[in-house]
């Protein structure tokens, strides 16, 4: 009874329980509990979808879930079941082809996955069992096994680190294959574990597997000889993730906690949600139209058939009697099957091959992005990366760009510029820097020569040396060569001389954020060198070349909400100190107010100059205080639930009442060609919004420097500061401001013509809008629903009329909110997000197109992006050239496909009126099948891969060409109608041209007559030639491939027709086309009519091309003049020279 309930508790309900209990080494315990081994999944990784047995059904099922495939399957089944005009082969063969190719491709990919899985699963690992090392296949690892891993091996499952060969109980790990961050991360062993793991008897309680790579909560109970079990908390720093690699450590032992499909890597394996492009939506809309055409054609034919049959003598003339079965069938059933037959006959109007061609175009086309050497960045030795090829054309449709600031607009390459201690400025640069002239008015600068007290100074520098998570790098080989590179750079740029560190110092540090290194190096410049962290002791080399030792008691990690981090250390003398650094806004409220004023001025000035500022504070902890803090921290860390919240509370409690020491300023330079890129993007009619977590001042100066804001841009500010101006309720003020700005920017402004930036050239007033996080949240979540909508609308309207928008102090989620808001506003514009850090992931995922920069803040952005590029400047070519071309290519591809199938099927439809609505196909089955597969598919594919209607250089030079295809311009309904009418026109010409010719079917000089198959073949020949030549007319860029494919297709058609008609095919029941084609070519009239009809069909096209042509280049020339005018004007910004070189940023990403 008891056992059963226990069972239920532990076994049956295991899934629902929040925690799992793991017995290390599968030992049972001297506890009175019945030991029931819980069931966990084994360590087999299954990334493959199929097995040999279920491949066929499962794959087919997957494939037929696609609506297009399903449609064709239905058509095929109808053909099999109902007596239809065309044999099932005509639609079955293409479908079979598509399905087979896809199945082979997927099967191959799955086979590769199987292989990779097997490699992983069958690799041998060392497992400690009963004190002996045994080798096991990786897949046989069970939860609770103790696994040994040696250097440079990857972890076979998620492990809790128990033992490390390093003395300090740490090990280093790179997670390059998980999140792409190649720096070394330190992980710690669980404290108080005996060296002899054999005698270790402990259990681990931890949460059920969850995909977040950076979260882990657990608790270890260690049992020692009947003592009360000791409890240790486990966090992500104890967890070694499957897929990560052990570095700089000989070997470690760990206990498996999550295995197989429950590892964090496997849980993260799911694909991203699919984004769909506008073109795809257009295709679906067009498809619907064609489906309607198809159904109405079938309906018309069915109706007319029965009307016609009602006339006496027509239904069943004596020469064409019905079979008994047909006579017996119910009339309505007959009507229905007739309808289906017509559907089948006309179904080619929706071609299965279009999907294949579009897929192929996208897949192959995306290679041009990866291949582009302009995207190759020699620094990181990488080019562009395409994560999805579905969105190529979307790159040509972007209307809004949301860009991150740090690492995207700026380089995220930090350099320590100055610091201020107790209000005194310490500046390492030469005094002649132009900055000083600018700052003369600043009070404290006058005290430049004065220095703060030596004690304060040293305390400040110690704080910089201690308050961080930087590691000292041990291997030096690679670093040395890097150092040499640096020397070269120094020679080349003597001005930067002092800014760069001497090479041997350069190599030393590893940290996850570049500011930290900059700060440590900054301290080094003033004589305090951080030597490293060894078994909880931090060593510092002070100015007197003495080594100071500090015991590291706690690290209060950085997080973006607190925007600060702290360390608690104990000095040799026994003092317990807390050092804290963080953003001004998060430090100032926590220090004594009289100290703030002295520093604030510096911080604000530095921020205006575009530097990233951090404030440093410290606090003496008395014994009681420390004891209290220590207990609080330990307790919070042991908590299994709400650990983050509890920790946060303790952190906040500890980090109070501090003394402000000073502030630092770190420079982040602008990315190469950031201003040029922004100008080009704006010139292309895109609106650039900067979304940053940084301070307004810093962000604003960046915007000026990139030319997003110009001197004459009038800035409309909606920030906490402006909101609190009037001293009234924020929301009232918000309403007032919004209406005021709305009046200014929207109502009074002349209506904006296409392209937001054009106005600039014609002297229109420019507006820039600035909003910060808190204000945005008021706008978005106002107290009442109606107000909120009103604000949102006002806000959006204002923003739409501004040339640039700056949103500062944004939380990652707010960034996504903004993107979502713009995405869903009227006209649903196409948005693009670009960023490099983890804080940009949400907006990258939210936007239509997400671009990751392969920057320094890890690889999360790149992993979650659709495209990744090494630098911001590459965005210009990616959008203006690649995007534009892809869009034009695929738009043409889509229109052309619909067109060619319309004029393919229309004659067949018209023929029904002449054959008693009997579903007689006009073309032979082979032609019906091959038309889309062989005769006309390759030229359009080649076109859609190689076409450059305007050459790339010209596209790059003339950004405004981009706006010519904006708003899905080439797939608008007008153009669709044009193509449809063209298709109808061609179809009519083909059919009736031949119809008139067949007024007298004696077309040969020997007086013999042509039959129905000759009729169809002539129509088909005209069709293939016209359709191909129409494409040739549209091709502006004839590479040898285009020549080969276009003329090759036509030659193939002729060759095939001879071949097909030249043999009595044994498998065919009817030898319909035997010598029909050859006979056709022996008739002069047939030749003449073919030439005539081709020319007649193409005549309007040629005329259009000719008449449109002069307008094209002419307009382009004009535009070139325009844009060069703009180009001359824009750099004339007086703010720029100063800000050109400075850069700035974001205190939000300290770590």
């Amino acid at each position: 009874m008891l056992r059963r309930s226990l069972n239920r508790l532990l076994g049956g309900d295991e899934r629902r329980v929040d925690n799992r209990t793991i017995y290390i080494g599968h030992q049972s315990f001297p506890v009175n509990e019945a030991f029931i081994p819980p069931k966990f999944c084994d360590n087999r990784i299954v990334s493959s979808k199929y097995t040999v047995w279920n491949f066929l059904p499962k794959n087919l099922f997957e494939q037929f879930r696609r609506i297009a495939n399903f449609y064709f399957l239905i058509i095929f089944l109808v053909q099999v079941i109902v007596d239809t005009p065309t044999s099932p082969v005509t639609s079955g063969l293409p479908l079979f082809f598509v399905i087979t190719v896809t199945a082979i491709k997927q099967g191959y990919e799955d086979w590769l996955r199987h292989k990779a899985d097997r490699e992983v699963n069958k690799s041998t690992v060392k497992v400690l069992e009963n004190g002996e090392e045994t080798s096991k296949e990786s897949e046989k690892i069970k939860v609770g096994d103790i696994v040994e891993v040696t250097e440079n091996d990857t972890f076979p499952c998620d492990l809790i680190l128990l033992q490390s060969s390093r003395d300090d109980g740490t090990c280093f790990v790179t997670t390059a294959s998980l999140d792409g961050e190649s720096n070394h991360k330190t992980h710690y062993t669980v404290p108080d574990i005996e060296r002899d793991l054999q005698s270790l008897s402990a259990t681990i309680e931890c949460e059920q597997p969850q995909p977040d790579l950076y979260k882990f909560n657990g608790r270890m109970h260690i049992y020692k000889n009947d003592q009360e079990p000791t409890v240790r908390s486990l966090g992500p720093e104890n967890l070694l993730l499957k897929g990560a690699t052990l570095k700089n450590t000989q070997k470690i032992c760990g206990v498996a906690v999550y295995t197989g499909m429950e590892t964090k890597m496997a849980l993260n394996y799911q694909g991203k949600s699919q984004k769909r492009s506008v073109v795809e939506k257009s295709i679906n809309a067009f498809l619907l139209v064609y489906l309607c055409i198809l159904v109405s054609k079938a309906l018309v034919c069915t109706t007319l058939k029965y009307v016609w049959q009602n006339k006496p003598g027509q239904d069943e003339p004596w020469y064409n009697e019905k079979t008994q079965k047909e006579k017996d069938t119910n009339l309505y059933l007959k009507m229905f099957t007739d309808f289906l037959s017509f559907m089948v006959l006309f179904n080619f109007i929706i071609p299965v091959s279009m999907y294949v061609t579009v897929e192929m175009q996208k897949f192959l086309g995306s290679f041009f992005i990866t291949w582009d050497k302009d995207f190759f960045d020699p620094e990181i030795q990488e080019g562009a990366l395409v994560n999805t090829s579905d969105l190529n054309e979307e790159l040509g449709q972007v209307e809004y760009i949301f860009t991150d600031k740090t690492g995207t607009l700026t380089q995220n390459n930090m350099e320590f510029i100055e610091c201020c201690i107790d209000g005194f400025q310490y500046k390492h640069r030469g005094a002649c820097s132009e900055l000083d002239g600018f700052c003369v008015t600043d009070g404290p600068v006058n005290k430049l020569q004065q220095k703060a007290g030596r004690e304060r100074e040293e305390l400040f520098l110690r704080a910089l040396c201690l308050c961080h998570t930087v590691q000292v790098k041990e291997s030096t080989e690679q670093a040395r060569s890097q150092g040499e590179d640096c020397i070269d750079q120094v020679d080349g740029l003597p001005v930067e001389d002092e800014a760069l560190q001497p090479p041997q110092e350069e190599r030393g540090f590893i940290a996850s954020s570049p500011d930290e290194i900059a700060l440590v190096k900054g301290a080094m410049r003033y004589g305090f060198t951080f030597l490293g962290l060894e078994s909880k002791t931090m060593k510092i080399l002070n100015r007197n070349k003495d080594v100071e030792m500090y015991e590291l008691l706690h690290v209060l990690n950085f997080d973006p909400v607190r925007r600060r981090m702290s360390v608690i250390v104990r000095s040799r003398s026994g003092d317990t100190l807390l050092f804290c650094k963080g953003a001004d806004s998060s430090i100032f409220p926590r220090v004594r107010q009289e100290e703030v004023e002295r520093i604030r001025m510096h911080v604000e000035r530095n921020a205006t100059d575009g530097y990233r500022t951090l404030c440093v504070a410290y606090k003496h902890l008395s014994e009681e205080e420390y004891a209290q803090a220590d207990e609080g921290l330990r307790e919070a860390r042991l908590a299994l639930q709400d650990r983050e919240e509890k920790l946060m509370a303790v952190y906040n409690q500890v980090e109070t009442g501090m003394n402000l020491l000073g502030a630092t300023a770190v420079e982040d330079r602008l990315q190469e060609e950031a201003a040029e890129t922004m100008e080009a993007l704006q010139g292309a009619g895109m609106k650039v919004w900067v979304l940053t977590g940084d301070k307004m001042e810093t962000a604003k100066s960046t915007c000026y420097a990139c030319g997003l804001f110009q001197k004459r841009t009038e800035l409309l500010e909606l920030t906490v500061r402006t909101l609190e101006d009037g001293g009234r309720k924020r929301e009232d003020r918000l309403h007032e401001l919004l209406s005021e700005y709305h009046k200014k920017a929207v109502q009074d402004a002349p209506p904006v013509k296409a392209g937001g930036s054009r106005g600039r050239f014609f002297g229109k007033q420019d507006y820039g809008f600035i909003i910060d996080g808190p204000s945005l949240s008021i706008v978005l979540s106002s107290s009442s629903e109606s107000n909120s909508n009103l604000y949102k609308n006002l806000f959006l309207q204002i923003c739409q009329n501004c040339t640039a928008v700056l949103c500062c102090r944004m939380a990652p989620l707010q960034k996504a909110q903004i993107v979502k808001m713009v995405k869903n506003c009227k006209g649903s514009p196409i948005t693009l997000s670009i960023g490099d850090g983890a804080n940009d992931v949400s907006m990258i995922l939210e936007a239509h197109v997400g671009i990751g920069i392969k920057g320094k803040e890890g690889r999360q952005a790149v992993r979650n992006s659709d495209y990744a590029i090494p630098k911001l400047k590459h965005l210009k070519k990616l959008l203006l050239a690649h995007g534009h071309l892809y869009y034009v290519r695929i738009a043409h591809l889509v229109q052309y496909f619909f067109y060619k199938n319309l004029c393919f099927i229309l004659p067949q439809f018209l023929y029904q009126f002449f054959c008693g609505y009997s579903q007689q196909p006009l073309y032979d089955a082979a032609y019906l099948t091959m038309y889309n597969i062989c005769f006309t598919s390759m030229p359009i594919l080649a076109y859609s891969l190689f076409e450059q209607h305007i050459c790339i250089e010209f596209l790059l030079k003339n950004a405004n060409l981009y706006s010519e295809v904006a708003k899905n311009a080439m797939l608008r309904w007008e153009l669709f109608l044009y193509w449809t009418l063209l298709g109808v026109f061609h179809g009519l010409v083909f059919f009736f041209g031949v119809r008139f010719l067949f007024g007298n079917p004696a077309l040969q000089d020997n007086g013999q007559v042509f039959g129905n198959w000759s009729y169809g073949t002539i129509v088909f020949t005209v069709l293939v030639f016209t359709v191909t030549l129409k494409l040739a007319l549209d091709t502006r860029h004839w590479t040898w491939i285009n020549h080969f494919v276009i003329w090759g297709s036509l030659a193939f058609y002729v060759f095939f027709s001879f071949f097909w008609g030249g043999i009595i095919w044994p498998f065919q029941k009817h030898q319909r086309l035997y010598f029909v084609f050859a006979n056709m070519l022996s008739s002069v009239s047939a030749w003449l009519v073919i030439i005539l009809l081709i020319l007649l069909s193409l005549l309007p096209e040629i005329l259009l091309v000719v008449l449109r042509k002069p307008r094209g280049p002419y307009a382009r020339k004009k535009k070139m003049v325009q844009s060069s005018e703009g180009g001359l004007q824009s750099p004339r910004s007086p703010v720029r020279p100063l800000l050109m070189r400075t850069f700035s940023d974001e205190s939000s990403t300290v770590i």
Binding site: V1009, G1011, F1075, L1092, L1095, K1109, P1113
Partner: protein, 339 residues
């Protein structure tokens, strides 16, 4: 490709292809090319059009309806009654020499030889002389596959069953005498049909191959009795049969019946009075059809067809006119980049 990438890690190949810089021809349809081009095409078309037009005009055609719907017609008696072997005649007059070789067609209207159900109803293997299909004709032939006794029909199917079976004899009336105009029944079917696509079973005598089969329901004679006089025109190789088996494209069609190439009429039909004697067998009134006979001579472009000539002329002149218009437009607006 994967292998290549491994060799030179990540650096993209700098080839014209990968960089989208393949040398390319960029056609520019400038006025300098297009206007002369249009004029040339236009003139060529007009030339061809004139040629076609004249050729077509010179072709003589004599078309006569002999269905017998009007009471005045001699064939009326055959049309309304359903007598077998009904003979009627059609008198006509040729005022000038009808240049030879003269082709004699019969025509049917409102006859849907292009009906799907009709067209499918045949067995090409049988017609290729395959004896297994003699015993077991293709199911496509339904409902003309087997007769009521279950005996297979050869040739089976609706197409064969409905073969046109009126026969014609043409006499010239010279001084009250009737001179038979000799017909040539050869070379009226496609060469490939006669020589490859259709074959008699290689059984001697031919008749034996058709044991245990029946002739098509509407036929009066079996297929091996179509031409006693000429074995090479008998059975499936009978040219009338071949002509019929090639389905017409449209419901109003004509098919070649005979050529007049021999004897006194080699140079054509001289002016005079003629009588066409018709063995009227084929019923068409039931489906509101008409029967015609057509005398025509042919040229290099085939039979008379005004459409082609006129179309060429129209489009040719359209091209010329358009080039004129373009010339004016260009002269007026002088687009700077057109040199």
């Amino acid at each position: 490709m994967v292998k290549e990438k491994k060799k030179s890690p990540d650096r993209p190949d700098n080839t014209a292809f990968t960089q989208q810089r393949l040398p390319a021809w960029q056609p520019i349809l400038s006025a300098g090319i297009v206007i002369p081009g249009f004029v040339l095409i236009g003139l060529a078309f007009i030339g061809i059009g004139v040629g076609l037009f004249i050729t077509s005009r010179d072709i003589q055609v004599l078309e006569m309806d002999y269905t017998g719907t009007e009471a005045s017609s001699d064939c009326n008696k055959c049309a309304i009654t359903n007598t077998k072997n009904c003979m009627c005649s059609l008198d006509f007059n040729i005022s000038t020499l009808f240049k030879g070789p003269v082709f004699f067609y019969y025509g049917l209207t409102n006859y849907f030889q292009n009906h799907r159900r009709y067209g499918v109803s045949r067995d090409d293997s049988q017609l290729y002389g395959d004896l297994t299909n003699f015993k077991d004709p293709s199911t496509d032939c339904k409902p003309y596959r087997v007769d009521s006794n279950g005996k297979p029909i050869v040739p089976c199917g609706a197409v064969a069953n409905s073969m046109f079976n009126d026969t014609f004899k043409l006499y010239q009336n010279v001084n009250g005498q009737r001179n038979l105009v000799p017909f040539d029944g050869k070379g009226i079917a496609w060469w490939t049909d006669y020589n490859v696509k259709f074959r008699n079973p290689s059984v001697e005598p031919l008749k034996n191959a058709f044991n245990d089969t029946v002739k098509p329901l509407f036929w009066t004679r079996a297929v091996y009795e179509l031409d006693f006089s000429d074995p090479s025109n008998n059975g499936f190789l009978n040219q009338d049969f071949l002509v019929w088996m090639r389905r017409a494209a449209l419901p109003n069609f004509r098919k070649l019946y005979r050529r007049i190439t021999e004897g006194d009429y080699k140079e054509g039909l001289p002016a005079g009075n003629y009588t066409l004697e018709i063995s009227y067998n084929y019923p068409v009134l039931r489906f509101d059809g008409r029967k015609k006979v057509v005398f025509s001579n042919v040229s290099w472009m085939g039979g008379k067809n005004d459409f082609l000539g006129i179309a060429y002329l129209v489009i040719g002149s359209l091209c010329v006119v358009m080039s004129m218009v373009m010339l004016i437009v260009y002269a007026k607006f002088k687009f700077p980049e057109d040199n």
